[in-house]
């Protein structure tokens, strides 16, 4: 009896230490974000004179107003949303199509196809960017939204690979019974296989959305003109004109953070599932 009490006490202490430890981590995660939020509501004078961890005494919205007036926020948001929607949808369709073929059929060039595939997965996109740049301008889509879109959807071998892993787990007997019922291969893909990978599609789609939303160097390289800014490149150009103006820059940073953080808060569970699926199934 005494022993269990002691055990409980010890367990309580361990748990308290753990909580404290987590609290410190939480603080480290939130400190930069918190300071930025504080700064966004202060004036330039307050930034120079007040202790940065002091919360703003009154909410000074002018910084946000300034960013909206001068920062092309709506153009950036519009472009980012177009990129995200188009690339997530088309990517899901094309990736599941390839994955369906590779997980279900045998054909002459399959081995070679697969080999090229694995090789492509090993090569980081960045490496080929220099050569890709010439192709994009030759095809005539430089400085259009199409340039990042074709790159986002054409090069994501990882997603195809994960879809394949999911489809490999679906027993072939399901296809066969659909086939006996007279379904064509296309019907099987559309009515049987695709619906079964919808959960994976949700997960991978959200990951893709976050990636596209936050990407910097593809829009930076391929869409230099002002009307083609995404939220990310809009932030960069705004910052380059306002260096040292921390309150306004902080407001811009927060505006840019909001879409993905909102996505994250709503779809947290799916994001974790996607990361885990990508890793454990490799």
């Amino acid at each position: 009896m005494k022993n269990t009490n002691k055990y409980k006490a010890k367990k309580g202490i361990v748990e308290a230490i753990k909580l404290l430890f987590f609290l410190v981590i939480t603080l480290i995660v939130f400190l930069p974000i918190l300071v930025t939020i504080f700064a966004a509501f202060k004036t330039q004078f307050q930034i120079g004179s007040e202790f940065p961890l002091k919360p703003p005494t009154q909410f000074f919205w002018d910084n946000f107003k300034f960013v909206f007036e001068k920062g092309n926020v709506f153009t950036g948001l519009k472009n980012s949303l177009i990129l995200v929607t188009v690339s997530v949808v088309i990517n899901a369709i094309l990736s599941t199509m390839i994955a369906y073929i590779l997980s279900r059929f045998d054909f002459k060039l399959k081995k070679m196809y697969y080999l090229i595939f694995l090789m492509g997965m090993l090569v980081p996109g960045f490496v080929t960017e220099i050569a890709r740049f010439g192709i994009i301008s030759k095809v005539g889509i430089y400085d259009t939204l199409l340039a990042p879109i074709v790159i986002y959807i054409g090069t994501d071998l990882m997603q195809i690979y994960i879809y394949m892993q999911f489809m490999n787990q679906i027993p072939l007997s399901i296809d066969e019974s659909a086939m006996i019922d007279g379904a064509s291969y296309f019907t099987i893909y559309r009515k049987v296989i695709f619906p079964m990978v919808v959960p994976a599609t949700a997960t991978l789609g959200i990951l893709k959305a976050v990636e596209v939303m936050n990407d910097m160097y593809i829009p930076y390289l391929y869409m230099p003109s002002e009307g083609k800014r995404t939220l990310t490149t809009m932030l960069m150009s705004f910052a380059s004109q306002r260096s040292g103006a921390w309150p306004q820059l902080s407001a811009a940073v927060i505006i840019v953070m909001i879409p993905t953080v909102t996505l994250y808060i709503i779809f947290q569970k799916y994001i974790f599932d996607g990361i885990v699926a990508g890793a454990v199934k490799e």
């Binding site: 930034i47 960045f126 080929t128 220099i130 893909y189 939303m213 940073v253 890793a279």
Partner: protein, 290 residues
């Protein structure tokens, strides 16, 4: 009936693969070959005539002092991230236990990874700034002298690595956690019943059972450290001088700032080779320990 099926099969294979294959060929395969080709030329990115210069670009890359400086900087990111791996593993181990709020903590730890990288870079620029920057103000509270976090050659790479740690630790922790959660609960219970301490459980059961995850994270670490780009690009653009240039940043600068596409291509090829070699070595080391 059978013939019909076969024809249908061919039709679906061709029609489903045609668009993705064209995209892959155009934006993954062809650029790769083009890259090798360009690395032997003096192309400036614009001109129609491309001069063949043999291995000159590669020799140039090896002789370029700034390349070595940038590689050393990548090395700093690599080593610092490597040092954090045991800590990340330990945090994941703690999160796995049914601690109160562990789900919330999981969400918090992962948050930085979701935030826009450029936004993160500016956030930390403010933290490190010399005018009203948070870190120096906190130091001042204790009467310490201000530090030139990102404007001095000695500290800049460590300051930038800290940002990278802040941003990427979360994903490692989540991956480790996934590995730990795939270990059967019975095995862990059995060890505990036999009186093994938490440390023993961690070192004798958890670590050996998450080898694959460790392998993946080491691979991500090699790749990530070699490819680190947006943090130095936004925060210091490689400066002061070239003290925080990374290999990828220097490559991009060579191509798009100085129009040395040939040399930049050679650097990209070198990067690819380095990633392949380092990953292979790491894989060898890990599988030998098994």
């Amino acid at each position: 009936m059978f013939d019909n099926r076969n024809r249908q099969k061919n039709i679906i294979i061709v029609s489903f693969l045609i668009i993705p294959t064209i995209l892959l060929a155009l934006f993954v395969i062809y650029p790769l070959f083009k890259l090798f080709y360009l690395s032997f030329t003096d192309w400036d990115g614009m001109s129609k005539t491309i001069g063949f210069v043999g291995t000159n670009n590669y020799i140039d890359v090896f002789k370029d002092n700034d390349v070595w400086v940038s590689l050393r900087n990548n090395g700093i990111y690599f080593v610092i991230h490597l040092m954090f791996i045991p800590i990340e593993m330990f945090i994941a181990f703690l999160l796995d236990d049914k601690v109160r709020f562990s789900k919330t903590f999981k969400g918090i730890v992962f948050l930085p990874y979701i935030i826009n990288g450029v936004a993160v870079a500016y956030m930390f620029s403010f933290l490190y700034s010399s005018q009203g920057g948070v870190l120096n103000e906190i130091l001042a509270l204790f009467g310490a002298n201000p530090v030139k976090w990102i404007s001095s050659e000695e500290t800049v790479n460590f300051s930038l690595s800290a940002v990278s740690i802040w941003r990427f630790c979360g994903i490692h922790i989540i991956l480790f956690l996934a590995g730990i959660q795939s270990i059967s609960k019975e095995m862990l219970e059995a060890a505990r019943v036999d009186g093994a301490s938490s440390f023993k459980v961690f070192s004798k059961i958890v670590i050996p059972n998450i080898r694959t995850v460790i392998e993946i994270i080491l691979f991500l670490n090699v790749r990530g450290a070699l490819m680190i780009f947006d943090i130095p690009f936004v925060m210091t653009s490689g400066g002061p001088g070239t003290s925080s240039t990374t290999f990828t940043l220097y490559t991009i600068q060579q191509a798009f700032k100085y129009s040395h596409f040939g040399k930049a291509s050679a650097m990209a090829v070198v990067l690819l080779v380095m990633i392949v070699i380092l990953s292979t070595i790491q894989k060898k080391i890990i599988s030998e320990k098994r």
